[in-house]
Symmetry: C2
Subunit: 453 residues, 2 copies
């Protein structure tokens, strides 16, 4: 791993300048699927389907009429997005194997721009977990060290990008599932504001928390991909008031708030990396303590489990044996939460949003590590950090769920390597609906860190 990967942005430039062509991009990506087979990043890929798309794109470039700057660029898709050419399994034997034939809205948007829909990536079963160790096709392995996990649930997409198979991939994020494998695999990942990106055609985990998002080699890649994610989609009512992606605003001096508090502990190594990055960022940084983390976390869990159980009720009744035991246990536990507990959770969600967006005053981004520890090794059930002993599952969502419960847009940047050579990510959260401003701030910080790094 860690050959110098070319980014989506590089590929866009190379295509435009005629130094690269869709067929060779596709052939290289297919070859890398083979050479990185041990990562187990893909669950479905069809060479003929890929090459047919690449050849059509190549013809369009040859005719001087590409559909868009990304025409012919391979993009991998998490296996909970419906895709015209592949079945969709959510990596679960309980899935009714959604037939091919329909594209999720984001996939359809990318396809209309000529992107090569490259194949389906491995994921945590039904996206109901953050380690990618529960999947009906087996675990994914971290390109930085195959003895370590990728995190999840979009672990296959994370591994495929980090290994350089594709420059960008699609993930989905209910408690961090885009950001967790992005941080664990050392790439960039973005979760849009709740309600700005269409989930139509993405199998739900928890409809009031879910967001689709891009994972990519460079932050600028994400800027290139956002227009295909954001905007109103009549097929997803949550996007009724969503604006399309706009231009990035000019950024003045940045004010960051570094969140800490009981329940936001992190390992000394991660804490050191984030503090070093903040020092280098040239931004104004204020530290604030976030109270009541335990209550907010319980609220996120209650909403997640209730909504997931409600969505899966029909499958639980007809195909219960298809779920892995741990996923099935989650879903059955979800049915035991009371309505009053759910309503209390929904009220706490409102309190958190008000606290972050109003009570904290003026800020450009809220800062947390993306993960409290670097990617754990396969087989590690527990993580210890900051006087805590936490399951590996809970350590993966440790900070990220805050972005889903609040609906704020979030981005993760790779900022350092651990002593064992595993990536460390930093998360920035923006104001609700202000995805462009968050990306502008993140680009500034990322550029500053790279120029000093």
């Amino acid at each position: 791993m860690s050959q110098n990967l070319d980014s989506l942005t590089d590929q866009i430039r190379d295509l435009a300048e005629g130094r690269q062509a869709p067929v060779s991009l596709a052939e290289r990506a297919l070859a890398r699927v083979q050479s990185h087979a041990e990562l187990n990043a893909f669950v479905a890929i069809d060479e003929e389907i890929v090459m047919t798309q690449a050849k059509a794109a190549q013809l369009r470039w040859q005719n001087g009429a590409p559909l868009s700057p990304i025409d012919g660029i391979p993009i991998a898709v998490k296996d909970n997005y419906l895709t015209r050419d592949y079945a969709t399994t959510a990596c679960s034997d309980a899935a009714p194997l959604e037939p091919a034939g329909v594209d999720a809205t984001v996939v359809a948007n990318l396809r209309a721009a000529g992107a090569v829909i490259f194949g389906k990536t491995n994921m945590h079963e039904w996206a109901y977990g953050a380690t990618n160790t529960t999947s009906n096709v087996g675990v994914t392995k971290n390109p930085h060290n195959p003895a370590h996990i990728t995190g999840g649930s979009s672990g296959g997409s994370g591994a495929a990008v980090a290994a350089g198979v594709v420059a960008a991939a699609l993930g989905s994020d209910t408690g961090g599932s885009v950001r967790i494998p992005s941080a664990a695999c050392g790439i960039y990942g973005f979760k849009p504001s709740y309600g700005r990106a269409s989930r139509h055609g993405v199998l739900p985990l928890s409809w009031s928390l879910d967001a689709p998002g891009p994972m990519a080699t460079e932050l600028q890649d994400i800027v290139h991909l956002m227009p295909y994610f954001l905007g109103a989609d009549p097929k997803d009512r949550s996007t009724a008031h969503a604006k399309p992606f706009g231009s990035l605003p000019d950024v003045g001096p940045l004010k960051l708030i570094n969140l800490t508090g009981a329940g936001l502990e992190r390992s000394a190594e991660v804490d050191g990396a984030v503090n070093a990055a903040l020092r280098q960022s040239a931004a104004q940084v204020e530290q604030r303590t976030l109270q009541d983390i335990d209550r907010y976390f319980a609220a996120w869990e209650a909403i997640l489990h209730c909504e997931a159980s409600a969505y899966h009720q029909p499958l639980l009744q007809t195909r219960a044996e298809g779920f892995s035991p741990v996923t099935r246990a989650h879903l059955e536990a979800g049915t035991r939460l009371t309505g009053v507990e759910l309503l209390t959770a929904q009220k706490l969600r409102g309190d958190l949003i008000r606290y972050l967006t109003t009570d904290l005053g003026d800020w450009d981004a809220l800062v947390l590590p993306t993960l409290p520890v670097p990617a754990p090794a396969h087989g590690e059930d527990w993580q210890e950090f900051g006087n805590r002993r936490v399951t590996t599952q809970d350590s993966m969502t440790w900070f990220c769920w805050l972005g889903n419960l609040s609906g704020l847009p979030c981005v993760t940047l790779p900022i350092a390597k651990s002593s064992k050579g595993l990536p460390i990510g930093m998360m920035l959260m923006g104001r609700p609906g202000a995805d462009e401003a968050l990306l502008a701030a993140a680009l500034r910080i990322d550029h500053t860190l790279k120029s000093k790094g």
Copy 2:
């Protein structure tokens, strides 16, 4: 009862023409409280507070500077609205006796217009029932026949208006609590669209179903009162997008849909009265069958019980002995509903809204009886109609809950008397947010019926 009552509209005209004065209006209303004391309509009234307001209004009229056309008109207030001059009890010993000193937004709006906030009216304990037979100050009696109930939960307001104590009163409506006593007592009642009227300062029963609304002698009275109800209130987030009350639109030929189906049965007498009214209305009337009433009703109940239980959790833990046994049993049952049941109910609410507003096609109003039977007698636990045997409680909300689950604006008109001389009401439901159009249609129908009656 049934002296020729003067309406709010009459009082507005008489004040403007100098034929009536606030002090004599107040004195007459206070005298009628005494002469109708057996109705048990009021739980708190203070002559000095009333007369002080009336005298101030009279001075303004004498100075040629009334605050509004309703300056000096007495309006009674259900005892779940906070009022500056009176404590608020929700007719429950469990209530923490909200101290006087603060007005609910609707009360504050009326007070700013000079209305005399006349006293607090009896109600079903915590508004958690539709008969007005559970109250810590005893039952209310129907002015048309004191052996019969008023219905509830705004039964005191209904009795006060029907008896001519006041021309108009405030109610609140979670499953029909404005419309039920209005129909049972032979007056007009209006439930605004969900989210157009502020509930700030009205003790909640179920926050996603609750609406405040006026009850009055004539439909035109309601038109006069709507500006004090509708519009955005920063203190009630559900009104964030609420428009203030606008002018009534011109009405073309009306298309009504008469809803029937299993679960929408009514007595032959009520059915005959509604059909006669529809024939006389000169409107185009189409009959449509509403399916799945049982599932929608269960959804309304689940939302009601969960939200009520969540709201009352603190009181249940500290003052449980203050609730009547039946209210306490409801609240405890609500805690046993699951989150999945609540989410299923919330989904069904969306289905119902789509069905009524979209699938049913074009319509100006949906029509149902307000109640399936005339006001039951005190002591009757069951009602029989249309091959059903239904508790008196369920017979009161039989149709009305549809307006709360869907959020549609609703109005009830008195259209006939039963063989026993008890009023029969007809309900019209309008399009969401189109309260003005519903009132315009209802005025047309009411005028037509009166001109032929």
